[in-house]
Symmetry: C2
């Protein structure tokens, strides 16, 4: 029996949401959120919860089906992954934003922290894994110096099939593979894209590339549990069925309509009230290197979903809360000074781990130096946990809003829960703000300006607009 | 002749600060800073500039001497580095905060982006380089699985000699080396710490460890140009004399008392005015993977220096601007939606590169798909530069304050300039805010609570205080 079908184990792995230090009766009336504030939102919360249910039923939140409707896809992915392992030394993901952040976060969470530096044997026979989510020529060149393209599988991921960065990388790799491998070059590319729309699917069909589909209703930043995230994870030996089971488990928890029973809804409601009280910054601070890039994944999800000029009524609201990535304990020596003494403008979310996957003793020593010797006999585990508790306490004393998401352990099941939790929190926050959490109109201007600057046909007007912008003043460049 | 003694080359490598898009006559009256606002600050600016000069003369800003007074240290470091290269396969830095962020940023900027994955030959015979700036037991274990401690040099860095995290790592490594190497174990440790104060210097003296000193007046976050940063950089083959020359070059530029001639002062003055206008977020967004961790280094510098509860008069001001790390173009697909459409609460600083150290062509292809084929014939260099210009334009159109620091090229000389530029900007911002930019009183509470939780003698009272804190309410954990 797989452990993720064992109800008792699943319950023991349930992640929890602790919002004590958000509440006025714990952190004080000045900064804390009063229960009355929450209660007075009852109608709004109920309406938002109903909207979530209705949208789901109407097929407007297809990402919520990902934990359930992918049996065939998963089977195909596992088969493909085992073939890739046999043939390839490296697996390179070409993608950016929602096509990259999830795979990076999950790999960091569930594999060795120096995975690519292990021997193949230590990696369990799995290939090295690289995500190239930028177009810096130095980085691209650096990649080609450490991989052998003839032993590399490239997974090009773009939902729209028109992402310039990814398609530029694709052109480079396509050409290089053709040069080196002749007719076999197509066996080195897997496309992950929309089933119908876009350029990548056209190319994939024309050349008969192996292809996975991102369901039409699943946007980039909500796509980690689709083939976008599942294929790379499976290739690196991660149990993707367990990850999906974790997401399904959290989905059950998130069925509750009452915020007091629904941790994701409660998390969103509290952030909403905090935003209303001027907390325009949301810090995500995992106390585990394995969860470091969850903060990056969350940063896109939260920023792009909620950062909106207009609400659904068309009113200008300039909504949004800026996500900040921090890492415990590291950033205690970088950011905590500001968090405890600076403006009262943020909510800090700790990600804590109940049991790390290893333990390390701090040996006794230097008995004549008490400031050092007191550490001996403890473990690093005790030290990191004590520091998290101490930081939480210091923030509480300084009246800084904070909350804690605890993972009993970092494994595929809890990571699946965490991803899904944050997705539901984000969608629900979108409902409360009355915005569309699933679009990103604000990136169009930059995209179009790029097209214009590179002379893409059809963008002549935008080019003229750019050419007409006032020249920079020399006196303002020093 | 070394290029960094060639005035013409130096001038061609001068970094520039472009603040067009901060100014009202460029970005509009609503959001932009008016020249009058700057001019009306004349007295305050003059006073701050004078305070900078006086403090420097009085020896209260010893970090400003680092570009000049380290000839002997540099010589010793270069000798040590060349010995390390002969004997060791890996160089591991144990440190956190100011002892880690600079070395990470400089290594990323000036060495191969996959340095540790290169062969020793490709690395120019230099050892692999790891910075362990956390106490996560999983990360510590992962490190020991990829290094051979018998071929590893450990550089333990803590100015105070009492940093719990670093001393815990030190105890672990100390014990391990003694076990494996017997009497030779001391040859595997270099201590970098204060010359007089603290526990590490005591231990170093007692055991005769090779030691480098952090000058007494140089605080952690201003210490990158001391042996803290110089030794690791030298070990990895970076030209530290050129880096120091770059800092000295910027120091000359920053001698000017008038903000219109002094880019670091101007940068600080503009941030000060932006903060006053409610911009409580400072985004640092390099358009180069090589500069990615400069944003992390800056985040500590800016947050810890300016995040202060009290000003020098003892008034409660809760100052500070929260630094946010972003990466171009990557975060265009994550954060730009928020930056263009969300609240008007931030200043975005681009770090741009004039000439990347390599160029990569995007091949022609897919002529029947114009949305892809328009990329062909360009280079990745053109694409990344166009995207930066396009993003800057989109922000300008959306009236979002932004500014650009341009490095003609990324090399040791420009990196030295950049580090020094940001240090001066930070110190000057501290003057304008009327705070002490060089302390960090806000971290004491958390440190003491950690000591108490781990049972350090002398912290019984704090322990009692912690034990007496109200128990968490179960209803607030779901």
């Amino acid at each position: 029996m797989k452990r993720y079908t064992d109800r008792q184990w699943m319950e023991s792995m349930r992640i929890s949401f602790d919002f004590n230090n958000m509440m006025a009766d714990v952190i004080g009336e000045e900064e804390g959120i009063k229960k009355e504030d929450l209660d007075s939102m009852e109608d709004q919360l109920k309406a938002a919860a109903q909207a979530m249910s209705i949208k789901r039923k109407e097929g407007k939140m297809d990402w919520r089906d990902l934990p359930y409707d992918q049996d065939n896809v998963v089977e195909d992915i596992l088969k493909t992954a085992s073939e890739i392992k046999k043939e390839f030394d490296a697996f390179v993901l070409l993608g950016i934003g929602g096509s990259a952040l999830g795979p990076i976060a999950v790999q960091q969470a569930l594999n060795h922290l120096h995975y690519n530096e292990l021997s193949r044997e230590q990696r369990g026979g799995n290939p090295r894994f690289y995500v190239v989510d930028n177009i810096d020529p130095e980085r691209m060149e650096a990649l080609f110096e450490i991989i052998d393209v003839e032993k590399t599988m490239f997974n090009v991921i773009t939902k729209s099939g028109s992402t310039s960065e990814t398609m530029a990388q694709f052109l480079i790799v396509w050409n290089m593979l053709k040069d080196k491998l002749g007719r076999r070059f197509k066996d080195h590319i897997i496309a992950t894209t929309d089933k119908e729309k876009g350029n990548l699917i056209k190319i994939a069909r024309e050349y008969g590339l192996k292809t996975y589909y991102i369901p039409a209703g699943v946007g980039g930043r909500f796509s980690e549990l689709s083939p976008v995230g599942l294929l790379p994870a499976a290739v690196c030996g991660i149990d993707i069925r367990e990850m999906l089971a974790g997401a399904a488990f959290m989905d059950e928890i998130c069925e509750a309509e009452n915020v007091y029973d629904n941790p994701a809804y409660m998390a969103a409601a509290l952030q909403y009230l905090a935003m209303r009280a001027g907390k325009n910054i949301s810090v995500m601070m995992p106390y585990a290197d394995s969860l470091k890039y969850m903060a990056d994944w969350y940063a896109q999800l939260w920023a792009e979903s909620l950062g909106k000029r207009y609400n659904l009524k068309g009113e200008e609201i300039f909504a949004g809360q800026t996500p900040v990535k921090a890492l415990g304990v590291t950033d205690q020596h970088s950011q905590i000074q500001l968090y405890t003494e600076g403006p009262f403008d943020k909510v800090i979310t700790f990600l804590t781990v109940g049991r790390y996957r290893t333990s390390m003793d701090i040996p006794e020593g230097f008995e004549d130096i008490p400031a050092v010797s007191f550490l001996g006999g403890h473990t690093l585990n005790e030290l990191i946990s004590a520091e998290q508790a101490a930081t939480e306490y210091a923030l509480l004393k300084a009246k800084r809003l904070n909350r804690t998401i605890n993972l009993p352990e970092v494994n595929a099941f809890t990571v699946g829960q965490l991803l899904y939790f944050m997705e539901v929190e984000t969608a629900f926050a979108g409902e409360l703000l009355g915005i569309n959490a699933f679009d990103q109109p604000g990136v169009e201007e930059g995209k179009n300006a790029t097209y214009a600057l590179l002379g893409r046909p059809g963008y002549e007007e935008k080019k003229a607009e750019l050419d007409a912008r006032p020249k920079k003043k020399d006196e303002y460049i020093i």
